[in-house]
């Protein structure tokens, strides 16, 4: 159980997928414009990551080394399609708000990275720990980034249509660069520098 805990905890801070491994930056840059998007993306990535980690670790011994990457991609893409069809059919509201981000999970390096680095070398039991830890680490990173971008870029914090609070002055003149692509680079770079400087990450 201690190893399970270790595999679970490492993905959250020590090898945080966004700030330490610097994986999956493309979707991170694209969707961290609001807390809603961050939560939706986290949900999609968690389901796909958990599913692909379980299947890949279960069949890891019969996958020949030379075709492992295509096999991983097929499994990941299948999971994304299943999630996307299921959401579309039974949770149309969530599907709507996720929009383009669901299919984007296929090209999320975090999922493929965990398959290659962890699930293909470890048992199902530990691969579940790994998937959950990495998913939480991804969620934390997305929430921090999108919190800053949404607040500075729109002057208010809105979650699922409810405005939590707004900063007077910023609402009338939001720093809209933060909601655009350059703002994403700025925020991620500054956060990474801050975390490294304070020793949160190495």
């Amino acid at each position: 159980m201690t190893r399970w805990r270790k595999d679970f905890l490492k993905g959250i801070i020590v090898s945080n997928p966004v700030f330490v491994l610097v994986l999956g930056l493309c979707p991170t840059l694209a969707i961290s414009t609001s807390i809603d998007n961050a939560l939706g993306m986290t949900m999609g990535v968690t389901i796909v990551l958990l599913g692909s980690n379980i299947i890949i670790s279960a069949i890891r011994k019969i996958i020949p080394n030379s075709v492992r990457i295509p096999v991983f991609i097929v499994i990941i893409a299948s999971f994304v399609t299943i999630v996307s069809l299921t959401f579309q059919a039974y949770f149309p509201d969530i599907y709507e708000s996720l929009g383009i981000f669901l299919p984007l999970i296929v090209v999320n390096c975090i999922v493929l990275g965990r398959a290659e680095v962890f699930a293909s070398k470890n048992s199902v039991f530990y691969s579940i720990a790994d998937a959950l830890g990495v998913a939480i680490g991804f969620m934390l990173a997305l929430l921090i980034i999108s919190f800053i971008r949404q607040l500075l870029g729109t002057g208010a914090l809105t979650i699922f249509g409810n405005e939590l609070f707004s900063l007077p002055g910023l609402v009338e003149h939001p720093l809209s660069i933060f909601i655009q692509a350059p703002g994403a680079f700025l925020v991620i770079a500054l956060l990474m520098a801050l975390f490294k400087h304070t020793g949160v990450i190495e």
Partner: protein, 178 residues
């Protein structure tokens, strides 16, 4: 020799089997979700048409045109319009009261910049189209009655152009069929 050939074939075999399994799982998922997805899409259209025409009783869909009726009287038309915005395609449902007047519009999907172009979905923008004569669908700087969103001229322009051009095209179609 035989052994090494078998060895070479193994990766191909495994990949083929994995793809076959994936394809069957996907087609199975597609089969069981197909009906629900079609229903969701249908419901979505119905709800939007009801929002536009509260007294709707029936509608007919032909040539990409919804003809809305209530007690055998045609009370309006609706159709989809799309235009190229700043961040991608903007899809709009346009409702016409008659051949000359817009009833209202609903932005169905857009990928404009949040906080700037994405404000085309807000009521303050879309309400400008309510009961607007088709001839007046243009930005005010072009002599129309629509005020562009500050800082989002491209998004505003794309919406206005899509609504005007598609409306003119559909009105021609409506007038052709008595």
């Amino acid at each position: 020799m035989k052994n090494s050939k078998a060895k070479q074939a193994l990766p191909i075999l495994v990949l083929t089997v994995v793809v076959l399994i994936a394809v069957s799982v996907l087609s199975f998922t597609h089969d069981i979700t197909k009906a629900a997805i079609a229903e969701q899409k249908d419901n979505k259209v119905k709800n939007m048409l009801k929002e536009m025409f509260p007294s709707i009783e029936n509608y007919k869909y032909e040539d990409n045109l919804y003809t809305i009726s209530s007690q055998d009287d045609i009370i309006g038309y609706a159709f989809l319009a799309s235009g190229q915005g700043y961040g991608g395609e903007i899809e709009i449902l346009v409702g016409l009261e008659d051949e000359n007047t817009v009833k209202s519009i609903i932005i169905i999907s857009q990928t404009e910049t949040p906080g700037i172009g994405a404000r085309i979905t807000e009521k303050s923008f879309t309400s400008q189209f309510v009961n607007l004569p088709i001839d007046d669908i243009a930005l005010s700087r072009d002599g129309g009655k629509i005020d562009a969103l500050t800082g989002a001229t491209i998004s505003s322009n794309a919406t206005v152009n899509a609504v005007r051009e598609t409306s003119i095209e559909k009105v021609r179609l409506i007038k052709e069929v008595p």
